[in-house]
């Protein structure tokens, strides 16, 4: 391995790591607020790429069907549970949030598509269309079991991932997609060719991490989310609704996954089932950060990206084995170094 090759591999690894970092930060965000390890995160990223590709090809994206189905289900569940609790006054509001809002999004996309919008607008549309999916899934799947143990939530999350992959095949078909590059720029940094796409991925990762930091430290909603993460009961006593905090976390997380999907779509062919490995590797990164720290998750994700890049050069057949083997020493070190907090506190 020469210095040139090492530099190329490092840049490739950092670009891959940046994508993992976005997903890892989103995973940590959702986990700290709702205690759900959201495995389908990678799927959300892959669906964004597939949605954008469909919009590029002027076809109706399958996501529309997915959102409509989920919105109807969530709305039905909400109305039934409200009726049972005798809170019929809240029904119009539920209808607005769970049915009308997602349908407005779908309608907007459907109408805008007729005018062949330019690339930036298409990206916005794809993100808009992806945003409702996670909060709706949260309402359908996780809200009814919000107080269950972390392990149960994880198991349900894995099951949900498989359901989503099946739906992905139904709505997007079996073929992979690849979108137009967002930029065709390229530059030389110290004699190494760096594509504009790589710079873009890195910038997006940094900007989003920075925004998240500002959001948590300087806005009331951000502080409320942090409060929920620290102590659900205490937050509730202060007038913060954990359910609403969860929805906000899912929306923010979806945005991160969506952006990573948009960034990865031009560099690689995305299939309906590509999300799992993406989510899993980001999850490894998040575990390195102990599932609680954002900078830790980001660093861990960059580490995974770099390791993967160098491993693919050294021994391409064992690449994934090397990446996932990293988990063992990390988990050992984590369990020896950290004092155990009792996560299952009685509320």
């Amino acid at each position: 391995m020469t210095a040139d090759i090492a530099a190329i591999l490092a840049i490739d690894g950092i670009a891959t790591g940046a994508v993992y970092a976005l997903v890892a930060i989103g995973t940590v965000l959702i986990f700290t607020v709702t205690r759900v390890i959201f495995i389908p995160f990678g799927d959300i990223a892959a669906f964004t790429a597939l949605t954008l590709a469909a919009l590029d090809a002027k076809q109706l994206p399958g996501t529309i069907g997915l959102v409509v189905v989920l919105a109807c289900m969530a709305c039905l569940m909400e109305v039934v549970s409200l009726a049972r609790a005798g809170e019929l006054r809240a029904v119009p509001k539920a209808l607005l949030f769970y049915l009308v809002l997602p349908l407005i999004v779908v309608g907007t996309v459907w109408l805008t598509m007729r005018f062949a919008p330019p690339m930036p607008l298409r990206i916005v549309l794809a993100l808009l269309l992806i945003l409702p999916i996670s909060p709706l899934l949260d309402r359908i799947v996780f809200r009814p079991i919000a107080d269950a143990s972390v392990l149960l939530l994880l198991t349900v999350s894995v099951a949900l991932h498989f359901a989503l992959v099946g739906l992905g095949l139904l709505f997007f078909g079996p073929e992979g997609v690849r979108t137009e590059p967002l930029t065709s720029m390229a530059m030389e940094i110290a004699g190494v060719h760096v594509s504009g796409q790589t710079v873009l991925i890195l910038t997006a990762a940094l900007v989003f991490s920075g925004l998240l930091f500002l959001f948590f430290d300087f806005t009331l909603i951000g502080k409320a989310l942090r409060a929920t993460a620290l102590n659900r009961t205490g937050a509730r006593l202060m007038g913060i609704r954990p359910a609403r905090a969860g929805t906000i976390a899912y929306l923010l997380g979806s945005l991160m996954a969506g952006v990573s999907g948009i960034l990865i779509a031009p560099v690689n062919t995305i299939f309906y089932d590509s999300g799992f490995l993406l989510g899993l590797k980001a999850f490894v990164g998040a575990i390195v950060g102990g599932m609680t720290s954002y900078p830790g998750a980001a660093l861990g994700a960059f580490g995974v990206g770099l390791l993967e890049s160098f491993a693919s050069f050294q021994s391409s057949t064992l690449k994934d084995v090397i990446v996932f083997s990293l988990l063992i020493p990390v988990l050992l070190w984590r369990s020896l170094a950290s004092h155990h907090s009792e996560e299952e506190v009685e509320e």
Partner: protein, 382 residues
Amino acid sequence: MRKMLSLTALLGGLVAASTAQADITIGFVTSLSGPGSSIGIPYGRGIQAAMEYKNEVNGEKIKLIQLDDGSDPSAATRNARKLIEEEKVDLLIGTATAPSTIAMMAVATELKVPMIAVSPVIGQPNPTDQWGISVPQPASLLVKVVADRMKRDAMKNIGYIGFSDAWGDLVYNGAKAVETEDGIKVLTNERYARVDTSVTGQILKVLAVRPDAVLIGGSGTQGALPLLALGERGFKGKTYGTVALVNPDFVRVGGKAAEGIQVSAGPVIVAEQLPDNHFAKKLALEFRAAYQKANNLPSTDGFSAYSFDGWMIFTSAAARALKTAKPGTVEFRKALRDEILNTKELSGVHAVYNFKPGAYHGVDERALVIVRLVNGAWTYQP
């Protein structure tokens, strides 16, 4: 309610009884879902085209029952049993992935029903108790024809990059088999997975040996990934691949980077460019017309044509088998098996088929032509 049910059952029984007497029943399994679906869906469309082209033999109607195996070998096994034991099929056709096909073949052999495999089957059948054949060109032949073309193009040093699965192994071993002292040498064995996001590391390793040509052992859309990485690094040599790459999405995704790649493929891929005296020309054009009529889409892949050729093999064998036995009987299945294994010089759209006991595959080098990607279209390279 119960009365209704029994009445329906009775009626259903009557209908079944009246149709099951003379029809030839075909059980067709393919992967409409799961990872094999990008191949399995075209197989299904190919069977529809074949039904459109010919749906009776000597006046006997053909009844087709199609099931999905979800790309899962255990589901394929269950489907095969169900088709044989409940539907009493005379013949099995399937399926999209090699493991599932091998699993079905085991059931067919056990229950003594002939089977036409539309995926490559590895290994040797028992010559005294063989119930199945396989339509596609075996991987070794696919690679051999490409390797021969590399020789003809005077390529010496070959870099190899392929999938980290059985397909990647097959192509690599096929390329290794034609290595010679003074000619071709395969210098790298780099692998990547279908869902990988980058092959930069592997491509750097390939380029480090300064190859004249790079052989791609991937398939479909994701086969384009190494080509794109090679393009980024300014690789100027030639690229080669196999028919596994040929689908419209590969061309779309590969774009300029895939331009000029040469692959070995069945003649059906370039039907309209074949010389008029080529065995596959007339039938391939008829197949395309039937495909368009049955599916309302143009046919662009080679996979649907395997189903179609399987159907050709079956109908020609069934025409001979009907002289000695009636459909739906044990004798007919045995006669059908014997006649399938007795296929002589039958022209399909992919190959000229000659089957005999002791081998699954029955094609020779006539089944492959070399095609090159020029301006996004596959062109015939005699």
